[in-house]
């Protein structure tokens, strides 16, 4: 028996959400009184692999092969399932990233495992019962799912579990998987990353703006506020529908759901569809000139005022705070 966690890398490095999922998996392994094994595919340095031990991985399986340098969904899924079988893993855990949304369901089918996606906390394990809480209805609710299969798969939402340093350096082992040519029918030809921007899905701080900004030409102050905070930028649906901002910034029921520590909503009224996508944010700040905006009802802090007046002042206040800290 063991718990297996897939540790995805972005250009050879692990993001914070990966340390979170290793910490989370280590806590479950402890509950199950078994070991946590991590599996990495791609080119990650020995030092970085070994550092996963700090978060509780007893062993790190390293799959490094030229054919696997960039993500190949089907091949990666085969490798993870093969490792799970070899290690006798009864639970496989992923961070709920874009790639994991492609991988985890394939692994679940290969292992005939019940899959709980978008988990938000540790499972409740009681003898044979294995209950897990996940987001549902696009953030409007939570569902508790019981996984009844012998092997189980979980994907953990980013920013829902605290990092926990427990162990020491992990032991790194090479893992040589079997290859199936038919697993290489979808191939990446190019990867484009916006290196100067913080990615929205796993961002800890988010600055989001809506129609109250009046036009795309006014986004300079939103970008500046995000930049001084070290936050990702987001927007409401009308804004992405109008083409003011790209679709990937659209937060809400038909866009993406986020769970940052801080969500600052500027000029967004707070329609039910938008609120669904931000309800698991830890702290919400709303800036809107309409005191009746529904968003204020779910905010922690609210400022009634014109964005064009408040945002520049907020930028100055954050700059002052940053220079003093």
């Amino acid at each position: 028996m063991s718990v297996l966690v897939y540790v995805e890398n972005a250009e050879g490095k692990f993001k914070k959400s990966i340390f979170e999922v290793v910490s989370y998996s280590a806590a479950i392994a402890e509950q199950l009184k078994t070991d946590l094994i991590a599996i990495s595919i791609g080119n990650v340095s020995q030092a970085d692999l070994s550092s996963l031990g700090k978060y509780g991985a007893a062993k790190v399986l390293n799959v490094s092969n030229d054919k696997l340098k960039s993500f190949v969904n089907q091949a990666y899924a085969s490798i993870i399932a093969e490792a799970a079988k070899k290690e006798g893993s009864t639970l496989v855990v992923f961070s709920n990233t874009f790639s994991a949304k492609g991988l985890a369901p394939r692994v679940a089918v290969k292992l005939k495992a019940g899959l709980a996606d978008s988990a938000v906390e540790l499972p409740e394990i009681d003898n044979d019962k294995f209950l897990i809480k996940k987001t549902a209805f696009s953030g409007k609710a939570f569902a508790t799912v019981e996984l009844v299969s012998p092997v189980k798969v979980i994907t953990l939402n980013p920013n829902s579990y605290q990092l926990k340093e427990s162990g020491s350096a992990g032991k790194v082992e090479d893992f040589t998987p079997e290859f199936k040519e038919s697993d290489f029918r979808a191939m990446i030809t190019e990867i484009v990353r916006a290196s100067d921007k913080i990615a929205l899905p796993d961002a800890e701080l988010v600055v989001s703006a809506g129609r109250g900004m009046k036009g795309p030409e006014n986004w300079g102050m939103i970008e500046e506020l995000a930049s001084v905070l070290g936050a990702a930028t987001a927007c409401s649906k009308p804004v992405s529908d109008a083409g003011w901002r790209p679709h990937e910034e659209h937060v809400g029921q038909t866009g993406i759901a986020v769970s940052p520590n801080l969500y600052i909503a500027i000029g967004i009224s707070g329609a039910i569809q938008h609120l669904a996508g931000v309800s698991s944010s830890k702290t919400i700040v709303v800036i809107n000139k309409d005191p009746e905006a529904p968003f204020f009802k779910v905010a922690d802090y609210g400022i009634v005022g014109d964005a064009f007046e408040v945002v520049p002042k907020l930028i100055e206040a954050i700059k002052a705070y940053k220079s003093n800290s």
Partner: protein, 245 residues
């Protein structure tokens, strides 16, 4: 080219979500059901790629007879025919197994889904169908073009995108950017009534999980209102009280 589009019947986006029976069941009273918005994007692209005699679009839905208006809507938008697997859609594994079972010997070049359904948001269906059929899957695509005997796609990743090529057949889940949803016209609505809708009984699939109960996010404490001149105070509260910066 034959394209299969998987559609889901979901509560309208304005639905206030509540539960019955000691929080074990979604309360459907007064809920308006719609064609899942992401599936509309997949359907629109399938129609664009097959228009003008270049192919056909088949709709598949796993659900009970109550979801037939949603299937008819997909036909009104422009699909050629539809299949309903007659069973309550228990979970993604069950639905994927039914769809894969239907599609395995039909020769579809492409199977498209929405990136997720807006009720359970699992994003599982596309990859599960593909795994059951042992064909490639690409999740959360933003662009889909056909280029001879392969497709070129763009997939979203955290803070960027990946360009991919894939051979037929494959499964892809579609997000915003792939196409603009289409609104059915009067001719489409009239012809949808007579387009073929085949009903097939479901095959049996092992049960791997159970939805036990539901809850609503806890309400936040009351909001602290500040004036437009108190931005420094806000920054201080975010640092000292909320501890988020």
């Amino acid at each position: 080219m034959k394209v299969l589009v998987c559609v889901s019947n979901v509560p309208d986006t304005t639905t206030k979500v509540t539960f019955n029976g000691d929080n074990t069941q979604f309360n459907t009273a007064g809920v308006q059901y719609i064609l899942n918005p992401y599936d509309e994007i997949a359907l629109a692209r399938a129609i664009e790629l097959t228009e003008g005699g270049k192919g056909t679009v088949t709709i598949i839905h796993v659900g009970e007879i109550s979801s037939e208006p949603t299937i008819r809507k997909a036909l009104a938008i422009g699909a050629d025919d539809a299949v309903r697997i007659n069973a309550a859609p228990r979970d993604a594994y069950f639905v994927a197994a039914q769809i894969a079972d239907y599609a395995k010997d039909k020769g579809f070049e492409m199977i498209l889904t929405g990136r997720e359904s807006i009720d359970y948001n699992g994003s599982q269906l596309a990859s599960m169908i593909a795994e059951f059929m042992d064909i490639p899957s690409i999740s959360i695509i933003k662009k889909l073009d056909i280029d001879g005997n392969q497709a070129n796609l763009i997939r979203e990743i955290e803070g960027g995108k990946e360009m991919l090529t894939v051979s037929f057949p494959f499964v892809a889940s579609c997000a915003e950017g792939v196409a603009e949803p289409k609104i059915p016209n009067m001719r489409g609505i009239m012809s949808a009534r007579t387009k073929p809708l085949e009903v097939i009984e479901a095959s049996s699939v092992e049960k791997l999980l159970d939805f036990k109960s539901y809850s609503i996010p806890a309400p936040r404490g009351s909001v602290t209102m500040l004036s437009a001149d108190e931005t420094e105070k806000l920054v201080d509260l975010l640092h000292t009280k909320s501890k988020v910066i």
